[in-house]
């Protein structure tokens, strides 16, 4: 059985980022880059599924600049078997990412694609569903539990009002939510050891046609710091005065 996990290189989700002064992009000077946390959860889940079914082979793929190799190496260190880097400087939107991934899926024929529900840099929450649509596959988004059933997966997915459990036959696509698992910690030596695992670099299958494009990056209006109050009485008084209570 084969699992494909797309991983995106994103700015450290805990770093504070600002737009560049001219609004042409995001200022990333001095900011670290990481695997998108949701994709890291997807890699972890794939590795845990393999602990139950050792026949599983895990491939990770990233689309982007050469530096994405860093994140792919980390995924290999976590337990993925091989990596594909689709190397490009071009701008992609989630739809273009989904199309490039669809081409790879048709070539590699995985039984499952497991990926993050959203990239924490663009916060789009699109590529997984778009890829499932392109492949005409069943999809289960926002997974908080994944089990193998023999012919497919049983997935508990988070919903606006709680959760629901769905069953999908192979091949199928699952996107991960935060509570699915806690990824293992990988120390540097582990990453170095994973250097011997195969990482294939290739060009995109086609030049991307983007249908949306970010033209400007700005700061959100800042909420002014308010008043410190000294007691609950004072708080009740101001809230009543403003008609909030």
């Amino acid at each position: 059985m084969k699992i494909l996990v797309p991983v995106k290189r994103v700015v450290d989700p805990y770093a504070k980022v600002r737009p560049l002064a001219d609004g042409s992009g995001i200022d990333t000077t001095g900011v670290k880059f990481e695997i998108n946390p949701f994709d890291e959860i997807a890699v972890e889940e794939a590795v845990r599924l393999r602990e139950k079914d050792p026949s599983i082979e895990i491939t990770v793929v990233s689309i982007g600049k050469g530096e994405c190799e860093e994140q792919l190496r980390k995924a290999l260190a976590m337990g993925a078997d091989k990596a594909v880097l689709i190397e490009t400087d071009a701008e992609y939107d989630s739809l273009a990412i989904a199309k490039e991934l669809a081409t790879l899926v048709r070539e590699l024929e995985p039984d499952v694609v497991l990926m993050g529900k959203q990239a924490t840099d663009d916060d789009c929450n699109q590529a997984g569903q778009m890829l499932a649509a392109k492949l005409d596959w069943p999809q289960a988004t926002f997974a908080s539990k994944v089990d193998l059933t023999g012919r497919g997966l049983r997935v508990t997915r988070e919903t606006d009002s709680g959760d629901e459990t769905v069953e999908l036959d192979f091949p199928c696509l699952v996107t991960t939510d935060l509570r699915l698992n806690e990824p293992r910690y990988i120390a540097l030596p582990g990453i170095i050891k994973a250097r011997s695992k195969p990482l294939e670099k290739r060009a995109p299958s086609e030049a991307p046609t983007v249908k949306t494009r970010t033209t400007k990056y700005s700061s959100p209006p800042a909420r002014a710091a308010g008043r410190k109050l000294s007691s609950v009485d004072e708080l009740v008084a101001v809230l009543k005065e403003r008609g909030a209570l």
Binding site: G128, D177, P220
Partner: protein
């Protein structure tokens, strides 16, 4: 000519999205996947689906896409920025091969939208380069329009093509207002000891105020609160009149979900907690003292 289709999951949602339609300023139709839509929202046509249960996204995106092609052309297709909204609309965008903008908060023109990214640290201006475009909308920025007129209405029979099976649903819900609709929200963070304490201290105050209860990811992860209460970048986006955050440090990811609140109150025992930088009113106090006191005095 520009035309918008609003996809709502229930009738009430359509009214909120009508505010967006008015702001966009183009003629629009409404399709509700369940429940009745008011006919005075300003829509040209209102369609209600004949399904008796909300379908899974993978089962219905094909027939939705057929409907859009037959009944169109639509230049814009918009739905709510909820989890079910993103689940279905992104699938639909894939089926239609359409570009998509999630979490629209403002409109510059019918092809230029604003949306937050990187946990709300950045506001992006996104240009749409082809039609149709699929949008998910955060209603806070778009007040519901005055009601008038009478839309044409019809029942839409949507066929589903099941690709996966729903085997069980656990909707926790309860008597409190929905987080995304609530006028008052009381949110707790990591320091709440356990689920029982969380419910007693925060639930008690929320019920007194007629509000909803929210939680940080830290509270959800430690099992103190159920996941559907999580507020923030990857949880619910809320916009109440009053947001009371107790024992919440004020991480970027949490603040991303509450920026549109009219009044933010922070109660935290650490005077240097980052949340005080963006709260309208801050109280340095132990939440175990302050919340019960607030509950008894708010009533008076």
């Amino acid at each position: 000519m520009s035309r918008l289709l609003i996809i709502a999951f229930e009738g009430a949602e359509a009214a909120q999205l009508a505010g967006f339609a008015k702001a966009l300023g183009i003629p629009f139709d409404v399709l509700s996947l369940s429940g009745k839509v008011d006919l005075d929202l300003g829509a040209a046509k209102v369609f209600t689906s004949d399904l008796n249960e909300l379908p899974l996204a993978d089962a219905v995106s094909g027939s939705l896409s057929n409907f859009i092609q037959q009944n169109g052309p639509y230049t814009h297709i918009a739905g709510p920025s909820s989890m079910r909204g993103k689940d279905l609309l992104a699938r639909l965008a894939g089926t239609l091969d359409a570009g998509m903008v999630t979490d629209v908060i403002a409109i510059e023109s019918p092809t230029l939208f604003h949306r937050p990214m990187v946990a709300g640290s950045i506001i992006a201006t996104v240009e749409v380069l082809s039609t149709p475009v699929v949008l998910t909308v955060r209603p806070a920025g778009f007040p519901a329009p005055a009601r008038s007129g009478n839309s044409e209405s019809g029942i839409l029979s949507l066929s589903t093509m099941p690709k996966s099976q729903r085997v069980s649903v656990s909707a926790r819900g309860g008597a409190r207002p929905d987080l995304t609709q609530a006028k008052i929200i009381v949110t707790g963070g990591r320091p709440l000891k356990d689920a029982e304490t969380f419910e007693r201290i925060l639930g008690g105050l929320a019920d007194t105020l007629g509000g909803a209860v929210g939680a940080t990811r830290a509270a959800v992860d430690s099992g103190i609160a159920p996941n559907e209460l999580q507020v923030g970048q990857t949880g619910k986006i809320v916009a109440p009149d009053l947001y009371i955050a107790a024992g919440v440090s004020g991480s970027t990811q949490h603040m991303a979900g509450i920026k549109d609140s009219k009044i933010i109150v922070a109660i935290n025992k650490d005077p240097d907690a980052p949340i005080f930088e963006s709260a309208d009113y801050g109280l340095v106090a132990d939440l175990y003292d302050a919340l019960p006191e607030l509950q008894s005095k708010a009533k008076a």
